[in-house]
Structures are given as C-alpha cells and as structure tokens.
Amino acid sequence: MSALARPGAGPAPATRGVPPQGRFSSYVHRSAAAGRLAVQPRMGFADLATMREGLREVRDADATSIGTITLDSYTRVNDHDSARAALRTGAELNGFPLVAHGERATRELLESVSGRDFPVQVRHGSALPQPLFRAMVAAGVDATEGGPVSYCLPYSRAPIAKAVSAWAECCELIAEQPDPMHLESFGGCMLGQLCPPSLLVALSVLETLFFREHGLHSISLSYAQQTHPGQDLEALAALRRLGGERLSGADWHVVLYTYMGVFPRTPIGSFRILEESVRLAVRSGTERLIVKTPAEAYRIPTIAENVNALEFAESIAEDEAAREPSFEATDTGIYEEARLLVDSTLELAPTVGEALVKAFSRGHLDVPFCLHQDNANKSRAYVDPRGMLRWAEPGRMPLNVKDFDARRPVSAQGLLGMLGFNERRFDREQLTRVHSRELLVGSGPRSLS
C-alpha cells in the first residue's frame, strides 16, 4: 500500500501544534499523515473466542484498520445480570458484554490482539456508564465513545441531568489515568436519521466542549452520512471549522459514520452507500471512518462481512485520493446555524453540562422524533426533492425556517417513505439495473446541489 497524496482534500491537519496523545490518536494521526483513511468496523460478539477471532481478522485485513468491540444491549442499560445469565445459558446477545466478562478477561483479550499498530475502541451506548468505565479503565481500553446527550436521548430513559453528572464523573475518571483513553462524541449521529446536519454538528461540538471541561485532551468529533453528499461535505467542513475554532489545545480529529439509518437491502446498494461515505471522508479530509456492511438491514454482520467492508473502503479511499472530485459542497449555511446553536446554548449556563440540560428542557435544542422524556420533540425534519435533509419545523430552536410547505403532519406511510430515502436511492441500481451515478447525472447538475 503506497502512501497517498490527497489532491484538494481537506484543510490542514486539525491538531497543529498539539502532539497526539495515546495509542489511539497516534495511530489515527500517523495514518492521516501518510494519506490513509483509518477504517473501523461495528463489531461485537458475545463470546470471548469469537470476539478475539474477529479482532484478529480486522487487524490482519488489507486496510488501515482499527479494532472495535461493540457492546450488547444489556450492558448498555446496566442490566449486567441478564448479560451474565445469557453467558451462562448461551443465549444469543447482540454484542460483547464487557462488564459481565469482567476486566481481567477483557484485558487478556485486548493484550492478545491490540498494539501500537492496532488500537481498539469500545463502542457502547450507555447513559449511566460508571460501571463500564471502571471496567474499561481497569482493562486498559484505548478508546471509547459517547457523551451525555448522544448516549442519553437515543439510548435510555435516564434524565439528561443524571447522564450529565454520570458522564462528568466518567470523564474525570479517565482524565486521572496516566494514559487517558481517547473519547469520541457520538453527537454526530443522534437517532441515525432525519436529524439535520446543523444540529448534529452543534451537538458534536458541544459534547467535545463538555469533555474538555472535564479534563480530557484526546477527543474526536463525529458526523454521520445523511441523504445528500454535497450537504454532508458542507457539514463536515463546518464541523472541522468549529473544531478548529473551539478545541484549541486539544488533540482532536473527525470521524465519519457510514449511514446510520434504514439501510439499503441489496448488496450493491449497501456497497454503494458505503462507497459514497468513503469518498466523502477522503474529500473532506476526515481522518477516520466507521463502516457498515450488506448485513445491516437484516442482522449483526459476520466477521467476514466486516473484513470485506473494511477492505472495500480501503480500496475506494485509494481511488478517491487519485481522482477528481465528483461532487461539491453545498452552501446552505450549516456552519452559521451550528455556531448559533452552540453559542446560544453555552450562554444559558456557566458550564457546558448545565447549559445542555437547560437547552433541552426549553426545547432550545430539540432532536426530531426523539421520544426521550427530556426532549421537547417539537422539531421536525424532512428530505426535500433534491435529497437534502432540512428542517420542516424548528420547534423552539432559534432557527429561521422558512419552508412552510414542509410543515404538515407526517403519516405512518410518509414516515416510512422518508426513512427509506437512502434505501431506495441506493437499491435502485440492483433492482432496476441502472447505475445510481447515471441516475444522478441524468437528473440534475453535477454538483448535486
């Protein structure tokens, strides 16, 4: 694998002047400096042997790969007894029950595969993660993810105020360690779909500011691919610009997630949407990408499916670095909107944590369709005829939404239609045998804007 130049890709590296801290961040920055996109699966299995084999195969993949341990849902909601019971009876879980396996077994697992050239991240989704953080610290985990909003609203019924204090405690626990874990905000995902880019960018920035407030220096900002590559490119530039303005003194980078909403069902559609996310990552100068597989719409992916997706991503990344851009960023004011949300939220209280609690209690921040009791759930989003994700209804958020046409109640079928936008966009090719790019070129300007 040769080092790749990235013509016209992204601005200068994020961490000018701040040396990478820890194994995880060092690996990401070393890869970026060599012109390589670091790629990571979403992978978790209940039993130790399968988990170990999975990590080994990811390590040995023909890609600039990072390892992932995705945790099961019982561990996420602190029902460790149910996780232990499942390990005893052999009942199938949807991920790795880290606390139930315990810190010793987890440390042994990590020591058997991870290293300077293969850091491993634990991905969970736990609003009140104190037991998990204690176990991760004891087991010597390189990195994890989350945040007081992004792991509370979509993942629990814990009050935000409680999640804020739990996450403060956990950040401080990491910060006290001689070699602190890297922490990634999951704020760029929220419910996986139908959350407009400006709010994703704002939440990601606010969560990393919260991490900073609680003593962390090695952090990452996230963003999830949405419905329109030009709009996503604009959002990633806004995220990087805000990171540069707000995270000085920190060691940070950006991670992109391949689409987190209702996924294409055909193999071709799945690889095409993954392809688009890889091109987006390279084009935006994003350092790390978390991939998805053709199993997504159906079930947890196998080890082989994950390895295929990583190797496919690596080859598309090389291809994208060597070619002319095929899409351009839109100019719809995502940066300005995200900055407004960040600043007006921070004005609400002296600390980031309190400001987040207040902002949600007033509907000043409001995640569309999110049923969590602390979310106002007055805002609405829709996919416009050009495929861009936009606000239909801002609720009480300080946004200037002019699109009154879009303000109508959504029906059950209408909701499925919006959720299925990317599924249709990418499955069309295999279902009708027409290449999606031909369709795009045929139906509009090349910039897709």
Binding site: S73, S82, L93, N94, Y155, S156, L191, Y298, R299
Partner: protein, 157 residues
C-alpha cells in the same frame, strides 16, 4: 378483505427493557392513530414493571410491543411470563413484533415459544403490516375475552 378496526380503541405501545430503538415505536403510534385509536407510547428501554403498572392502571384494549435489537426473544419472553402471572392481565391482548433475535431470517424460530408463553400474536419483521391490521380489525369491543389455547403465529416472509 380484513375488517376495519372500530375507532376509539386505546393502546399501549412500548419497547422492551434493553431495546433503545424508537423509529419502530413512532411508526406504530402513527399507524394506530390513523386507525382512530388513542396511543400511550411508553418509549424505549422500558422496565417490565413500568409496562405492567401502565397496563394495570389504564386497561388498554391491547399492549403492542415492538423490538428490533435482537434481544426480543429474551426480553419478550421474560415480560410475557410476568404479565400472564398477573391475574388482572391474564386476558389482556398482548402482541410483539420486530426483529426478535440476532438470526436474521431465522428469527422466526422464536415465534412459537413466544406465543406458547402467552403472546396473542407474533409479527417477525418482514411479515408485512397487513397481518397486524387484520389483528386490529379482529379486536372486539368491550373488555377482555378469553384467549385461544394456541394463538395464531405470524410467519416470516
């Protein structure tokens, strides 16, 4: 043609204890409301006790459980056993649907056990919404009615 559900029915829509997915719940709420029903949506990660308390205090026409995270065969089984051991809820209409295990198309293997333990119907993802609408159309007005010994089980597609 299936019967159309009589308006004015009351439903509880809920996830199970370990499942955080919400879009399925939002969808089911909209669908039921379009059929003229009143919906109490309990949201995600709902503890068994909260579901049981809500059923006892509000006496819905049916409890509609939805879960896709793959733990439905565990959480759903534990929950339905608790519900059926509550004398006042023995006859409550309770159905479950979604992705009930982590076996993809083979999740249908869980349907029978779930039904045998007291679910009135099991709708594995992909079995289509028509069968659910038939179930709704067949709901009788008035309070509970005795459940058949072995309720029909939804086949996967």
């Amino acid at each position: 043609m299936s019967q159309v559900m009589r308006p004015g029915k009351r439903f509880i829509v809920s996830s199970v204890s370990s499942d955080a997915h919400m879009w399925n719940l939002v969808f089911l709420q909209l669908l039921l409301e379009e059929h003229g029903a009143e919906v109490n949506n309990l949201g995600a990660c709902v503890p068994d006790e909260l579901i049981i308390d809500e059923c006892l205090s509000t006496r819905p026409d049916a409890l509609i459980l939805s879960t896709v995270n793959g733990h439905g065969h565990l959480d759903g089984l534990r929950l339905i056993r608790k519900i059926r051991s509550e004398p006042a809820l023995e006859d409550l209409r309770v159905v479950i649907g979604g992705k009930l295990g982590v076996r993809g198309a083979e999740n249908i293997v869980y349907a029978e056990e779930l039904a045998l333990n007291g679910f009135d119907a099991v709708f594995e993802a992909g079995s289509g919404i028509e069968r659910f609408e038939e179930f709704l159309g067949a709901l009788e007005s008035g309070p509970s009615r005795a459940r058949p010994a072995l309720a029909p089980v939804g086949a996967a597609a």
